[in-house]
Homo-oligomer: 453 residues x 2
Amino acid sequence: MAVNGVYKPDMNRVPTGEFFLPSRRTNGFGVQAEDTKICVIMVGLPARGKSLIAQKVVRYLHWLSIKAKIFNVGQYRRTATPNPTAEFFDTSNSEGEKLRMAAAEAAVSDMCRYFANGEGLIAILDATNSTKARRRWVQERCRSEGIETLYVESKCDEESTIMSNILEVKTTSPDYVGQDPEVAAQDFRNRIRNYEKVYQTIDEDESDMTYVKLIDVGQRVIINQIQDYLQSRVVYYLMNLHIRPRSIWLSRHGESKYNLEGKIGGDADISDRGELYAKALPGLVKKSVGDNRKLTVWTSTLKRTIQTARFLEFEKLEWKALDELDSGVCDGLTYAEIEERYPDDFKQRDEDKYNYRYLGGESYRDVVIRLEPIIMELERSENILIVTHQAILRCIYAYFMNVPQERSPWMEVPLHTLIKLTPKAYSTQEERLKADIPAVSTFREKGSSAKHQ
Amino acid sequence: MAVNGVYKPDMNRVPTGEFFLPSRRTNGFGVQAEDTKICVIMVGLPARGKSLIAQKVVRYLHWLSIKAKIFNVGQYRRTATPNPTAEFFDTSNSEGEKLRMAAAEAAVSDMCRYFANGEGLIAILDATNSTKARRRWVQERCRSEGIETLYVESKCDEESTIMSNILEVKTTSPDYVGQDPEVAAQDFRNRIRNYEKVYQTIDEDESDMTYVKLIDVGQRVIINQIQDYLQSRVVYYLMNLHIRPRSIWLSRHGESKYNLEGKIGGDADISDRGELYAKALPGLVKKSVGDNRKLTVWTSTLKRTIQTARFLEFEKLEWKALDELDSGVCDGLTYAEIEERYPDDFKQRDEDKYNYRYLGGESYRDVVIRLEPIIMELERSENILIVTHQAILRCIYAYFMNVPQERSPWMEVPLHTLIKLTPKAYSTQEERLKADIPAVSTFREKGSSAKHQ
C-alpha cells in the first residue's frame, strides 16, 4: 500500500525481520498499475471521429498490455430509444433530455464499477459531452471515486472530414438500421444541428482540467495540465494520429539459408529462392501499390531483409528496432536442438509464448516494447512497406488487426507473401499477395514436435 | 539522391549491372539525416526561460547523436553593444533597432552557412522574436534556404518564475558584468517592459506555421502543424519539461559475485560487501536526501540492483530498460577471456567503445536508444534514485552532465558511491557520497591489459 509515495511494508512478507519491501514490476512503460484509474472523456459534436479515436486508443493500449474499455453512452441510450429521430436530441425536448441523462448515468456507473473491480486502468467515456455542465458533472463523479480525468475534444470544421463521417454513420449506425440512407443522412445532419445549439468547446474556464483538444485531427493540438506518464503517452499517441488514406505493406525477408537448415536467429544471407523473391518483389509491390504512389521501405539491419528489399526503387530506411526477436542462447539452433538442449524452456515457451523470454534474449512482450516507436512512426506516416522478420511482423500485424496476445505469437505468416493493410474507420482491411516462389515453412504449431520439414 | 522519394541508383555502386540501391541507416530514431534542416526559433519576452529550453534541447539532441547548435542573437548584438541599457531596447530608439536587426541578420546568416556546410540537422535561434513581422522575416529567410521552421514560444505569467529568471540574469548575464545587482535587476525589468510594448504572442494569424506554445512551462501546450518525426520528438521532449526543483540520485548495485571474479554481464547475487552496501544505502540516502522528501527508487530487473535497493523504504519500480548493456557472446566472461577468445573484437571495442556492438549484444549507442524513454520519464519526474549498472549509469550521467560520446563509455563510476545530480538553470550540480565499504574496481582504462585485480 502506497501512502504518500512511501511503501508501508507488508509484515507477512518480511522473511528475516528485516524491512523487505516488494518491488513493483513495471510493464516496461513505467505504468504503476495499482494507482492508475484514468477516465478518458471524449468531447465533440457528432461526426468528429470521437468513436474512431476511442477505438484506436483502446487498440494501442491493449497492444501494450494496458487494460482499457470503452463506455459508449449511445449504446446505453439505445436500450431505451433504439431509433431516435433528430428531435430526440433537441435540448427543448425534456423527455429526450431525461433519457439521454439516464444513459450517461448508466454508463458512468458501469465505468465506476469497472474501476472498483480492478478490471482495467483506463476507461473511455464515448459521448458528445458537449456542454460545460455535463463535463463538470462527469468530473465530479470521477473525483468522488478517485478516478483521474483526461478530456479529449475532437474539433473539426473541415467539411470533407465531417461529410465522410456522416456517410459512414448513415450506412453503419445502429440508429439508422433499415432506413433510407438519404433520409438517415438528413436526420443525422439535423441531429448535429441540435447539438451545435448547445455545444461549448473546452476553453479557459476549464483550465483546471486535464485535456487535449485535437483540432482538425492532428493539425493543431492543445494540451492542458497533463499529470502523469500514462496520460502523456496517450496524448503523444493522439498527437501523432492522422486520417489521410494510406496503406501499410508487410513482408518477411526472402527465404534465408538458415530457414533452409531450420535454424533460428542469426544473420544469414537469403537462399537462391529468397533471391528469386527479392527479384519478384518490385513487381508484386507495383501490382499492389499502383504507379505514382509515394512509398518508403523500412527494413531491419539484418542482411536477409536488406537483400530482399534491394531491388525496390523507393527510399529505404534500416531500423534496428525491426531486427528479429533475439533468441539468446538459442540463436543459430534448430527447434530440435532447442528441444534437446533446453527441454524445459521449449515446453515453457509453448505454454506462454508471449511472455517466454529466451535465455539471454527476448520475449514477444519485449519485442512489443521496442516496436512501440515504430508503431508511433507508422501512425504518423503514409504509405510504408516493411520488410522484416516473422516475430516482428506478427507483432505489427497484431497491432493493426487487434489480435489478442495469446494468439499473436502463433499466427501463420508465410514466406514470399506480401500483406497489404489498409486502415478504415472501424477496422483494418487486409489483402495477401503470394509470390509464386516456393519456400520452406517456418511455422511450428503449438505443442507440435520440433521436426524441420 | 532522393528525387520525389525515389532513389536514383548510383551507377558506380552497381556491382553486377543490377539495380543496387543503397539503404540509408537511421540512427535508431528514423532520422533521415540528409533531408533534415530544422530551425527552432525561440519566441518570448526576456526572463521566460528561452535560453534554458534551448540548451536542454541541444543537450538532449547531442545525447541522441543528432547535431544541433544554438545561435544566440544577444551574443551577436554584444559584439557591437556589450553593455546596453534598457533604452537600447526601446522600439522608438531607431539606432538600437538598427543594431538589433543587424545582430539578427548576422545570426541567421551564420545559421544558413551552418546548414549549407552540413554541420548539423537542427539550429536553435535564441532571441525574443517577439513580433509577427520579425517571425515572418525569419520564416522567409529559412524558406528560401530550404530550412524547416519550428517556433517555440515560452509564455509565462507566473511572477515567481519570472522573478527567479530575473535574479539569474542580473547575476550571470554578460550584459550586466560588474554592475550593482539591484541596478541591473531594475534595468532588466525596464528592458522587459520595452519588449512588452511590442510583444505579439503567436496566434491564429500564424496558423500556417509549425509552432509549439509552452504556457507556464508545461502546464499548457499548444502544438500547431507538426510536420515530421524529428519535430514531433522535440515537441514531445518540450511537453515533458518542468522547472520544479528536484534532484536525481544514481548508484551502481553493490559489489556482485561476478564483480569479484572479474566477469561481465550475467545475473549474479551481490557479494558480502555488496550486502553491506545495500544495508548502508538507506543511511547514505537519508544523509543526502534529508527527511520528509518524496522519492521513488528505480532499479533494473536484475538481481544485483533489486537486492541493493531492498532496504530502501520508498516506492520502487523495476525497469527492463535499466538492465546492463548486453554483452552477447561475451556474457559471463572476464576481460582476459574476451581478449583471448575475441582478440579483434577486444581491440575494436577499445578503438570505438561507443559504437562497438558485442556479438549478439549491444553497443553504448544501442543502450542510449533504449534509455530514451527513461530520460523522458526522468524529465517528467521529481526526486528519483536509480540503482543500476555501470554502462547504464554512464549513459544517464552523460545526458545530465553533457559528456561527449567519445568520453562517456570511459568514465569512472566506482562501486559503493551515491551520486547526486541537481539540475540548475544552465548546468547540473554534482555531489558524490562514498560509502566506506571496499569493493573491487571494475574500471578498465582504454588500451590497458585485461588483467583483473
